[in-house]
């Protein structure tokens, strides 16, 4: 089309109800209050908006882009007591981070302002991390949804600073159990968890592998509540010279679009993801989901990195949700400028103006450059075989003016556009009462043996090997601690460690999510997720003072007071631990409306928090794996056990299989102050080079942690529970399978054991040459099994499903 196609939409004469109808008809996902504010805005200007303008406002104000719930004023009632949360983000995330930044000047180089947060590695080099969700698209089209999910977060990194180089990816999924019976799925068109899992894994595989970015970390949670709304988190870490972090668009800069062409695919993804799924979503919203083209992205990545090295980039950002409208909108948000839609290369010529501007076609970046750099940029684009065009120009007016074939199709005052009306919300949470835990007797060693074997075969614990092997986790040649390692290269680790190019240092990467606690103990979930993520990084050798984290939230219906209450409690818990550990949040994201309307009512996911983190490992000698390395060494314990099994994998397993009434209402307890102080003492041992291996105690408890350490096949392990430090009179079940946060088991050479003891750690056992995992309580055997028997149970648990 060689002319602009747009129309004016009369809204000034409409009533509030009519405005809401209009919002629904055009799928704008704007509330009645939003529509009234927009109406007032145009009444003041004495004109009607164009369809382009309405679409721009809808996407700018969408929950997906604006995170209005994290900015809302929330009246929260906890156990009957009222409190007002003046913005979750500001109160519990940004302010906490700023206080930590004040205490640790120079570590965090940028947080919340760019596509990803940056931390310093050395005087020249910084690393950054970003994680995103792609839940709704993955529910409807798992392969394409996950494919573009990873593609999108990689572009976030390419658009961080003046273009960071992606060096590792992480992928975390929440699925329904693989053995879900089809007849138990209560809505038609919902894809069986196996279909979701296979599609999602292949989607990640085909994007990450083709991009040449190692997928090194991840996790999978299986639970019935994720059958209707699977969760797909994709994250990428990048590296950049510190001098290239600061970026600014100035009047006179040209905006160029680079990469893929613009088409009708991916229309309204931002607004689509800001409502719940229904059966009709599977029929109607297919246009919101796209197929990725990783080679297109690889070409634009090569182009951007080469252009950045030559100093040709002034500002860069990706086209994510909202397409050009969000990218150009962000770049011109204060400076103002013109956009020329007719210059954008199109996939097909029949696009209307609004479609060009908000299409979310993949693999596109927008870059601000000096006009004089154009010839050199064009040369680079030719070399790397990517397409570039002049999309617009910054002009210093503060007004966003979108032109299409000479006509103004959108003219908005940026200061007004970026001020969405604030939401007021209500939340409530009631802490579950403590009570009697069911007592599990362990008189016979067979009981412990059988329960441990059952746990090793639980979907929560079994090896993710079939999936990990489909990801290239070694490309770029810097993966030092691999997701599977140990003597035969197939034992689980706490995360991964990557050498940071251009430095002599390493970055550890780990993830933690504990959604079972999201159902009953959200505050503890928030605390424990931060603890586990940080603890894993420290176990792998990261300096406790040089760790930064991200928070990614997913929840169901924010208008449900209890569901929102769980979120508020999670955020509060998370903030406490992050502040105690001095681990700043440098980036984060949230995803709401993860509920599905079935005929029998809505089904929501539990409030789910993913904490992903990265930490600096200062020397290669500090890198610690989770696999036992030799016989005759000592095993020591960081932290202490406590009673309480609520939310543990063990409790879930017992409840599922019990014939009688059983219950585990009590959650474990831990102290952040004590935990972190112990981590610092542990790190001193790491720096002395005496820690041979270390593993965090998490899902499945101490028994599972010890078994996993033994999967290196190099030695047996013997631990005496009577030596294990405890907070209270901890029953045997909790000792073996409890999930009290704050704990690490580490292996130390016999001749260095005194160093561990002098550092305040208790020796709880030793490695042996009998090949058995033996757990005793003084003379009583509680577990006694050949590791050779346990390993195949754990290793093959997913093979029949994937």
């Amino acid at each position: 089309m060689s002319k602009a196609v747009f129309r004016h939409i009369p809204i000034t004469p409409l009533s509030a109800d009519e405005l809401l109808d209009l919002s629904k008809k055009h799928k704008l996902s704007l509330s009645r209050e939003d529509m009234l504010v927009i109406q007032a805005m145009f009444k003041e200007e004495n004109r009607e908006p164009t369809d382009v303008e309405l679409e721009v406002i809808a996407q700018t104000w969408s929950e997906h882009c604006k995170h209005r719930i994290f900015g809302a004023k929330i009246e929260h009632t906890l156990d009957g007591k009222k409190e007002v949360v003046d913005g979750l983000f500001k109160t519990y995330i940004r302010n906490v981070t700023h206080r930590i930044m004040d205490k640790k000047p120079g570590f965090v180089l940028s947080a919340f302002v760019d596509n990803a947060g940056f931390v310093k590695v050395d005087d020249q080099t910084a690393i950054c991390l970003k994680a995103e969700t792609h839940n709704h698209p993955s529910a409807i089209e798992p392969y394409a949804g996950a494919n573009t999910g990873l593609g999108g977060v990689i572009r976030d990194i390419l658009g961080a600073g003046k273009g960071a180089k992606p060096i590792a990816s992480l992928d975390v999924f929440c699925f329904g159990p693989p053995d879900t019976r089809q007849e138990d799925i209560k809505a038609k068109d919902v894809i069986h968890p196996l279909g979701i899992m296979r599609g999602v894994v292949r989607g990640v595989r085909d994007y990450g592998n083709r991009m040449g970015i190692p997928t090194t970390s991840g996790a999978i949670q299986f639970d019935d509540t994720y059958i209707y709304n699977p969760l797909v988190f994709c994250g990428t870490m990048g590296v950049i010279p510190i001098k290239d972090i600061e970026k600014e668009v100035k009047p006179g800069h040209l905006l160029i679009a680079a990469g893929g062409r613009t088409g009708k695919d991916g229309l309204k993804g931002a607004t689509f993801s800001s409502v719940s799924l229904t059966t009709s979503s599977h029929e109607e919203d297919q246009t919101a989901v796209q197929i990725g083209n990783p080679i297109e992205e690889k070409k634009v990545a090569d182009f951007i990195l080469a252009a950045r090295e030559k100093g040709l980039i002034q500002f860069v950002t990706d086209c994510g949700a909202g397409g050009f409208s969000s990218a150009a909108g962000e770049m011109l948000s204060t400076v103002g400028g013109e956009v020329w839609l007719e210059n954008a290369p199109l996939k097909a010529p029949d696009l209307e103006s609004w479609q060009v501007f908000i299409s979310e076609s993949q693999e596109r970046m927008v870059i601000a450059v000096e006009e004089s750099a154009m010839p050199e940029l064009q040369k680079l684009a030719d070399i790397y075989e990517t397409e570039i065009c002049k999309l617009g120009k910054a002009d210093g007016t503060g007004i966003l003016k979108v032109m299409h074939h000479g006509e103004v199709v959108c003219r908005l005052d940026n200061s007004k556009l970026h001020e969405a009306p604030r939401r007021h919300m209500t939340a409530t949470w009631t802490t579950p009462k403590r009570g009697e835990d069911t007592y599990i007797p362990f008189e016979e060693v067979e009981v412990g043996n059988e329960l441990l074997k059952m746990l090793m075969a639980d979907f929560a614990i079994v090896s993710r090997e079939p999936i990990i092997r489909e990801y290239d986790h070694e490309v770029q040649g810097h993966t030092v601690l691999k997701p599977l390692a140990g003597a035969s290269g197939d034992a689980p680790q706490d995360g991964s460690v990557i050498r940071v190019e251009g430095t002599q240092q390493y970055a550890a990467l780990s993830v933690a999510l504990l959604p079972e606690w999201g159902k009953t103990q959200p505050h503890l979930m928030g605390r424990a997720c931060v603890d586990e993520c940080v603890r894993q990084l420290i176990a792998m050798g990261a300096n406790p003072e040089r760790i930064a984290i991200l928070d990614n939230f997913c929840m169901g219906n924010p208008d449900d007071h209890t569901e929102l209450g769980a979120l508020v409690e999670t955020v509060k818990g998370m903030a406490i631990t992050a502040e105690a550990y001095g681990a700043p949040f440098v980036s984060g994201k949230d995803s709401f409306y993860n509920y599905f309307k079935t005929d029998e009512g809505p089904i929501s996911i539990p409030c789910t928090l993913l904490v992903s983190g990265f930490g600096v490992v200062e020397k290669k000698e500090h890198v610690v794996g989770a696999s036992i390395r030799r016989t005759g060494s000592k095993l020591a314990m960081v932290g202490q056990a406590s009673s309480g099994l609520a939310g543990s994998v063990f409790a879930r397993m017992i409840v599922k299989n019990a014939r009688d009434e059983v219950g585990f209402p009590n959650a474990p307890q831990f102290s952040e102050a004590e935990a972190f102080e112990a981590y610092e003492r542990y790190h001193e041992l790491v720096k002395r080079g005496v820690v041979l291996s270390a593993h965090d105690v998490s899902e499945g408890g101490l028994a599972v942690a010890l078994a996993e350490m033994g999967f290196s096949g190099k030695a047996g392990l013997h631990v005496d529970l009577s030596l294990v430090p405890t907070l209270d009179s901890t029953p045997v079940a909790e000792h073996l399978f409890g999930e009290t946060p704050g704990r690490i088991v580490f292996e130390i050479d016999d001749k260095h054991a005194h160093l561990a003891e002098e550092a305040g750690f208790t020796i709880i056992g030793q490695t042996t040459d009998d090949g058995f995992l033996t757990i005793t309580n003084q003379d009583q055997q509680l577990v006694h099994l050949p590791i050779k028997e346990l390993k195949p149970i754990w290793q093959t648990g997913l093979t029949e499903y994937y």
Binding site: R205, N209, G212, P294, I383, Y471, D472, V475, G486
Partner: protein, 236 residues
């Protein structure tokens, strides 16, 4: 004496070029990553080795390496053959092996989808089956990481058995990892200067990238010795 110059071709989708260049430099080469758009026949005159690196050239949506092979042929014509005939070295790693196979510089055969139908990323045991300038400083058995979806080598008729017998199959897996006929992992031409393999030597240059922290069979990773072998062979 100037360092031998290695030219690493970078197609859209090639993604192991940076670490391959790094590995070559450590082993004593000067290495240049050349985007395919800049390739012209005269470029070969500057190099002693041409290297096809790993990745997914043009996405490998057709047959792996197919489009890269067509573009290379189009750009270089007979020049590549002449380069090898005049004593030049050509190496292909993973996707580069797939491309080399299609360029008719190696014994005939093709690399098809793994028997499992899956991408596979793991370490594989390897054994030398013939002498090769690329293997001279390696022990009879060693290991390297593999990462491929299409690494199963198939020949026509008795081809693969013959390659094992006559030493064209220079490198074999010690166990079956992908269904490759005769467990072939790497091939050489009759001069030995053209060598292609599915495993990734560039990912194991330093001990620290081995999966076992206690690995201590050599001073450096096996991949280093592969590049060092061919470097020393060039020096004569």
């Amino acid at each position: 004496m100037p360092l031998p110059h290695a030219l690493i071709l970078k197609f859209p989708g090639t993604n192991c070029d940076a670490e391959t260049a790094r590995a070559l430099k450590v082993a004593g080469f000067s290495a240049e990553v050349l985007p395919i758009a800049l390739l012209e026949p005269g470029k070969l005159d500057t190099a002693q080795m041409i290297l096809f690196a790993g990745g997914f050239s043009y996405g490998d949506y057709v047959m792996s390496g197919r489009i890269a092979q067509l573009i290379t042929k189009h750009k270089l014509g007979d020049k590549l053959r002449q380069f090898v005939d005049k004593g030049g070295y050509a190496m292909g790693i993973c996707n580069g092996f797939q491309i080399l196979t299609q360029l008719d510089l190696l014994p005939r055969g093709s690399l098809i989808h793994n028997e499992s139908g899956r991408f596979i990323c793991r370490w594989a045991g390897l054994k030398k089956n013939a002498s090769s300038p690329y293997l001279s400083e390696l022990p009879d058995e060693f290991e390297l990481p593999i990462a491929h979806a299409e690494g199963r080598f198939m020949g026509v008729g008795d081809d693969t058995a013959n390659y094992v017998a006559n030493g064209r199959a220079a490198l074999l897996y010690t166990e079956d990892v992908n269904g490759s006929s005769q467990r072939i992992a790497g091939l050489q031409d009759d001069t030995g200067r053209v060598f292609g393999l599915m495993p990734h030597p560039e990912r194991f240059v330093n001990k620290v990238t081995h999966y076992d922290p206690d690995w201590s069979q050599a001073e450096r990773g096996w991949g280093y010795y592969m590049f060092k072998s061919v470097r020393d062979a060039m020096a004569g």
